[in-house]
């Protein structure tokens, strides 16, 4: 029996678009699991009702076991799983074929607009070549580095990684893998933001001190190697967020072509996918210090504790959004909302708890709303709830 797993990340009407594709698919697509994992906003809660309301030959469930029971009952020809199962969970439990369909996102991004943006980016890069990229291996900088390499050739682009305790080893590995795969030249520098007491004190503009340290080391090295233009992966969405690090970039004359040309995260994910860059579906990955509330001192030990805990949870199969927020003795784990029911099951909860305790926390809590970007900003009143 074959299942087709679709990942839908937008509003229900667009999920309907996916389903239309499914019903015209080959017969073996008859049993369909939709992993509906939109992770922001309270719209998550309403989607179940929409799906139920529209259900005809579908069965909607909270877990992959619902897919099984639906099929066993043979009362429906497709199954919608809209909460409680990650794509990995579904794949392991019910799906033996996988199609990752981002159709809703394709609908949300005009292909014409994206094509115009990518052309504009190539033109920008040519006009400012050669370029050095502040490179972390995240979604944005990976796209920028690969595009620069492909547009300007091997000598026209240099990706520079700033390594420190706040930079997760896992992401460093991703950065290296992507660079190797796309033949992007890489240079690695050590940065020492933790040695700056203004950074370690963890004020709300902590990122300013981090980026100041990064750019003050990176820019002179780049220029000494003949790269007059230094760029970063800041995107148009970032401009709407609280990003004190952007000021440091401006002070060091670091350009942000993606933001300048109006690339949103969604644009970048789409363009990355088109280029085959594996980071296209990677969750956003800010530095480890973002897990500490403002005012809580950033230390190497704490960052290590957070990194170990998150790595342990990744090993348990949590592939989507994940943060281990540091509250002294307590680790508050934020997962994608779709994962919550799964991990509140007693046996999974025990495994999760032990994994985090092993990292050195005394207590573990699971956030009931799930992951939200800038969660600690909200908690401390820096941004609105």
């Amino acid at each position: 029996m074959t299942f087709l797993l679709l990942r839908a990340r937008a509003a229900w009407p667009q999920c309907g678009h996916i389903e239309a594709n499914v019903t015209t698919g080959p017969p073996q697509w008859a049993h369909t699991a939709i992993d509906d994992t939109r992770s922001e906003g309270e719209g998550d809660w309403n989607r179940g009702s929409s799906i139920r309301g529209e259900s005809r030959e579908r069965r909607r469930g909270d877990h992959y076991s619902n897919s099984r029971s639906a099929v066993e009952r043979r009362g429906c020809n497709s199954t919608v799983v809209n909460n409680g199962s990650s794509s990995d969970c579904l794949r392991a439990g019910t799906a033996d074929s996988l199609l990752t369909a981002m159709a809703p996102d394709l609908d949300a991004v005009s292909k014409v607009d994206l094509a115009a943006k990518t052309r504009a980016l190539a033109a920008w890069l040519r006009a400012n070549a050669p370029v050095a990229i502040g490179y972390s291996g995240g979604v944005d900088s990976a796209y920028l580095a690969v595009t620069a390499r492909q547009t300007l050739g091997a000598d026209g682009a240099l990706a520079i990684i700033g390594r420190s305790a706040s930079y997760p080893a896992e992401q460093w590995q991703t950065a290296r893998d992507v660079a190797q795969r796309f033949d992007v030249a890489v240079l690695e520098l050590d940065t020492a933001e933790l040695d700056d007491p203004r950074y370690a004190a963890n004020p709300s503009n902590r990122c300013y001190y981090c980026k100041t340290e990064l750019w003050s080391r990176l820019v002179p090295v780049a220029r000494a190697r003949g790269f007059a233009t230094v760029i970063d992966g800041t995107n148009a969405d970032d401009l709407r967020d609280y990003r004190p690090g952007a000021q440091a970039a401006r002070e060091h004359r670091v350009a942000s072509p993606l933001a300048e040309l109006g690339f949103t995260k969604l644009h970048i994910r789409h363009a990355s996918r088109a280029l085959g860059i594996p980071t296209w579906e990677q969750p956003s990955s800010p530095c480890l210090s973002s897990r500490l509330p403002y005012g809580t001192e950033v230390t190497r030990g704490r960052l290590r504790q957070i990194e170990l805990a998150e790595a342990a949870l990744r090993r348990l199969g949590i592939a989507g959004d994940l943060r281990v927020r540091f509250h002294d003795d307590l680790a508050r784990v934020e997962l994608a909302p779709a994962e919550l029911s799964t991990w509140l099951a007693p046996e999974r909860m025990a495994v999760l708890t032990e994994a985090v305790l092993e990292a050195g926390f005394a207590r573990v809590a699971l956030d009931l709303r799930g992951f939200r970007s800038g969660s600690l900003n909200v908690l401390h009143g820096v941004s609105a709830a």
């Binding site: 509250h327 007693p346 207590r363 573990v364 009143g381």
Partner: protein
């Protein structure tokens, strides 16, 4: 009394009220207040209830009503069992 004391008192009062509201919804738990974070220490049946999306949504709505921006459930651990208070003990501190 400093502004922090006032805020702490208010948070504690909100915590008591939230715990009562949760109990009325059938979710019995102790509650620890950490600023705008409400940390629930539920009984096992309370944990089971929170597996249900609708219940989590209700908890989040109640917490918001009581002034909390974040709600988390402390996960029970064998390691901590000896040092934790009984789950029905009211734990309110800020």
């Amino acid at each position: 009394m400093t502004p922090n004391d006032v805020r702490g008192d208010r948070s504690a009062r909100n915590g008591v009220a939230l715990a009562a509201a949760l109990a009325m919804r059938g979710i019995e738990c102790a509650l620890e207040v950490r600023g705008a974070l409400a940390l629930l220490l539920p009984k096992p049946e309370g944990v089971a209830a929170l597996q249900v999306d609708e219940n989590r949504r209700a908890v989040l709505a109640l917490a918001k009503e009581h002034g909390f921006t974040h709600v988390a459930i402390e996960l029970p651990s064998e390691r901590r069992r000896s040092s934790t208070p009984p789950p029905d003990a009211p734990v309110l501190r800020d």
